[in-house]
Symmetry: C2
Subunit: 213 residues, 2 copies
């Protein structure tokens, strides 16, 4: 599995690096910082080399879109947006916080509930998206997460979803969360994370969740 962690200038380190670190823990998976240029600078001035160009988003099996303080500039840059080609029919796609703006611009949010952070919320609402007061939501192959620390939910969902078969996927997600969980709190952390994402794993379960909103 090849994973693009889409990262723009002004990016929030938490979002891009939680995704990168967790997905790289799955044996055989390779998650890469994917950016428009050779280097990308975080909201706190950390300069990082891109591991893949933005065009990699088209080849990747999983694309996770990070958040940042300049996502509104990103979505208003039509040249830049034209370089992002996603296909929910063959890719697993997730957006963190303001990353939902990118999915909205690409017309991928439709009418499903969307999660984002409180700062980005008015901008995501303005796209016509249905923003909910929840940390995580997935519908089919597209998920959104709100609040930096919800990055763990997005990563765990991508792992579970990417591993395919329900049982194997959830086991892989559990194993990664168990590894990174605080010492002495592993069982509780795994239960908390899986409690958030499991309702979105099966088709029947997804319909139940959808009916809630």
């Amino acid at each position: 599995m090849r994973i693009a962690v889409l990262t723009f200038d002004g990016f929030n380190e938490l979002d891009s690096f939680v995704a990168t670190a967790l997905l790289n823990r799955v044996p055989g998976w390779r998650a890469c910082i994917t950016a428009p240029g050779a280097r990308v600078v975080s909201m706190n001035g950390v300069q990082v080399y891109a591991q893949q160009p933005i065009e990699f988003t088209e080849e990747a099996d999983i694309v996770l879109i990070g958040s940042g303080v300049r996502t509104r500039d990103v979505v208003s840059d039509s040249k830049l947006m034209a370089r992002i080609r996603l296909d929910p029919a063959r890719q697993i796609i997730g957006a963190q916080c303001s990353g939902a703006l990118v999915l909205a611009k690409l017309g991928l949010l439709g009418d499903v509930p969307v999660c984002t952070d409180l700062t980005s919320k008015p901008w995501v609402v303005a796209t016509g998206a249905r923003v909910i007061d929840a940390p995580f939501h997935a519908a089919g192959t597209i998920a959104t997460a709100g609040g930096c620390m919800a990055a763990h939910y997005l990563a765990a969902w991508a792992i579970a979803k990417g591993m395919g078969a329900r049982g194997a996927g959830e086991a892989a997600a559990r194993a990664v969360i168990d590894y990174v969980a605080p010492v002495g709190e592993k069982a509780a952390t795994v239960a908390r994370v899986m409690g958030v994402i499991t309702p979105f794993m099966g088709d029947a379960a997804q319909e139940m969740v959808a009916n809630r909103y």
Copy 2:
């Protein structure tokens, strides 16, 4: 406040970037990726520019030592170790996971309980440190955290401790955790994080905790 997030080759992205992102959220604080060379490469091949040289650890008000897959090489490199000068009398010092090996090598752990991750544990135990099955422990100005996701505890403690007066410090830590917490889970997340670090904030409280082990 100037903060050094000490980061070595092979570093775990979660540790260095959770610390950087959270501490930079405090108004007037500046947390920098601090490394031995001009660039540092993560355990997953992400290349990052250092924002400060390793000698900055001597000037910084707070020093947080990240974890990684090559910390044992770091502590056996006496030239490199000689460049790290810490003083718990005037600095707030924290170590994440294998970062405890650096504190052990510098003789800063003494007899206090130490937290680290399960992979690093045998190596930390081998230094003579008293490793406990807990995510976080602090004694005075020195703290240790175990498990990547315990990075939030270490950052919250550093913020609370760095802000000085007990009430103001805890309020600042709460505000940052509230900001980064998942949407819809903010109160619960703040309560969980503060529940872990508050017992280590007051002097009397610290003695109570110390007596537990």
